[in-house]
Amino acid sequence: MDWSAAYVSVALGVTTVGLLLPAGIWAGHALARRHFRGKAIVEAAIAIPLILPPTVLGFYLLHAFSTGSALGAAFQQVMGHALAFSFPGLVLASAVANIPFVVQPIQRAFESVPADVREAAACCGLTPWQRFVRIEAPLAWPGILTAAILAFAHTLGEFGVVLMVGGNIPGETRTLSIAIYDRMQAFDDRGAAQMAALLLVTVVAALAVTMALGQRVNRRG
C-alpha cells in the first residue's frame, strides 16, 4: 500500500471539490433559474469533459501548462517551478475534468425546487439572497452533496489526465490509480490489489451515499 499516493489522491479530491463547489453552486443555480440566449451552448460546453477522451483533455492541458504558454510562463514566474507535473497543475486539470460532475447535479437540484415555494418566499419579503440561503440551498443540499461526492470519487478514479499532466511523481502527482498501474509494472500485484480494493470500497460507498440522497430527493418531490 502506497500511503503517499492515497494521501495525494485524497488531497486532490478534497481540493478539487473545495474549488469547484462554490463555482458549481453559482453556475448550477444560474442555469436552473435564468433563461438566456445560448444557454444550450453553455450547457453543452459544461458537458464536454464528460465525453471527451481524457487524453484529448490531457493533451490540451499539458500544452496550456507548458512554459511556452502564457498561463504556464506566468505560473513559472510566480512559483519558480512549472505548472505541468506539479500538484497545483493536477488540481487545475482535475477541476476542469470535473466541471460537469459538479454543475449538472446541482442544476437538477435547484430545478426541482418548486416555483410556488420560491414565490411564497418572495411574497414573504425575503430578498433573493435570503431566499437562496434559507429556502433554495436547504432544499437543494442533497444535490449539492451528490455533486461533491461524485466529483471526489471521479477524481480518485481519474487516470488518463493525471498520467499525462501529472506524470508519476511520488508524493506530488502519483495518485492511487497511477500507483496501481505503477505497481503492476513492477510485478507487485499484492500492492496493486490492496490499493485497488481500497478504491473499490471507496467508490461503492460514494455511490451508495449518492443513491440514498437521490431517493431522499425523490421522496420529497
Partner: protein, 259 residues
C-alpha cells in the same frame, strides 16, 4: 436544517487547508529512470541511503516518455536513460548540466512464460517455426516509438525477418517493464524483454529465457545525466552510480559495464 450544508462547507474548507501537500519531495531528489532498471536501481538506491542517509525518489518509465516529461518541465533531477539519444536531445535543448555518463550497456532476452509452447533456447528461429504453425497467440515487446528496449526488440525481429509476420500478434508495453508483465501473464507465448528484468528475484520461476546476440540489434548504450535543476544530493547519487558497489549491482543484473 440549514446548519448541515454549512457544516459540510466548513469541513471541506478545513480539509482543504490541511490536505494540500507541502514540498515534502524537496529534500529527496526525484530520479527518472528507464524501466529496465526497475529492480537494479532500487537495490542501488537502498545501498546509497544506507551509506549516506540520503533518500531518493525513483520514477520508472520508458526513456522516451521521461525525456518528454523532462522537456515539458517535470521536476526530475537525474535522468537514467536506456539509450544515448534521449540524453543528447535534452543536452542539445540545454536542460542538462553536461553530456552525462555512460553507465551500462543493456542486453535483451527472448522470454517464455511457464506453460508456453516457445523454447527460448531455440532462439528467434524457434519463434519463426511457432509462427508458421500458427501457435503464436501474443508476443510482447516494449513500444519501439519511445522505449529503447522496444527499438532493440524491433531490430532483432527485423533482422530475423519476423517483423512483418509478427505484427498482428504484437502487444506493445508502454515500457519494457510493462512488456515483461504482458509477457508473463495472459495468453502471450512470450516476448523480448530486458535481461536485467528476468534476472530480478521477482521474475525467477515465472519462465525461461535466452539471450539474444548483441550483434542482432544496435547496442543499448545507457547514458545518465544530471539535469539543470538538480541539487547536491542528486549530484552525490550520480557519483555513487559510477562507484564500485553500484557497478557491482549493475553487473549482477546482467548489464555490460563501460570501461
Amino acid at each position: 436544517m440549514p446548519s448541515l450544508p454549512r457544516r459540510v462547507a466548513q469541513l471541506l474548507c478545513l480539509l482543504l487547508i490541511v490536505a494540500v501537500p507541502g514540498s515534502a519531495g524537496a529534500q529527496k531528489p526525484v530520479v527518472a529512470a528507464a524501466s529496465d532498471l526497475s529492480f537494479a536501481l532500487i537495490e542501488i538506491s537502498e545501498g546509497f541511503t544506507r551509506e549516506t542517509g540520503q533518500q531518493v525518489e525513483l520514477v520508472f518509465g520508458s526513456s522516451g516518455t521521461l525525456a518528454r516529461q523532462i522537456s515539458d518541465g517535470a521536476p526530475f533531477e537525474l535522468f537514467l536513460s536506456a539509450d544515448e539519444s534521449f540524453v543528447q536531445q535534452l543536452a542539445t535543448a540545454g536542460l542538462t548540466r553536461d553530456g552525462g555518463a555512460l553507465y551500462a550497456v543493456g542486453r535483451i532476452v527472448l522470454f517464455a512464460p511457464v506453460g508456453s509452447p516457445m523454447r527460448p533456447d531455440d532462439g528467434l528461429a524457434g519463434l519463426r517455426r511457432l509462427l508458421a504453425a500458427g501457435k503464436v497467440t501474443r508476443f510482447a515487446i516494449a513500444n519501439p516509438q519511445h522505449a529503447p528496449y522496444g527499438r532493440a526488440a524491433e531490430a532483432a525481429l527485423r533482422k530475423a525477418g519476423l517483423w512483418a509476420d509478427l505484427q498482428p500478434k504484437l502487444v506493445l508495453g508502454d515500457n519494457v517493464s510493462q512488456a515483461a508483465q504482458f509477457a508473463t501473464t495472459g495468453d502471450a507465448v512470450g516476448g523480448i524483454i530486458a535481461y536485467s528484468l528476468v534476472l530480478a528475484p521477482t521474475l525467477t520461476g515465472r519462465g525461461t529465457y535466452a539471450l539474444i546476440p548483441d550483434t542482432d540489434h544496435p547496442p543499448l548504450r545507457q547514458r545518465m545525466v544530471v539535469l539543470k535543476r538538480a541539487g547536491p544530493a542528486a549530484g552525490r547519487f550520480y557519483e555513487y552510480l559510477q562507484g564500485a558497489s553500484a557497478r557491482g549491482i549493475f553487473q549482477r543484473f546482467g548489464f555490460v559495464l563501460p570501461q
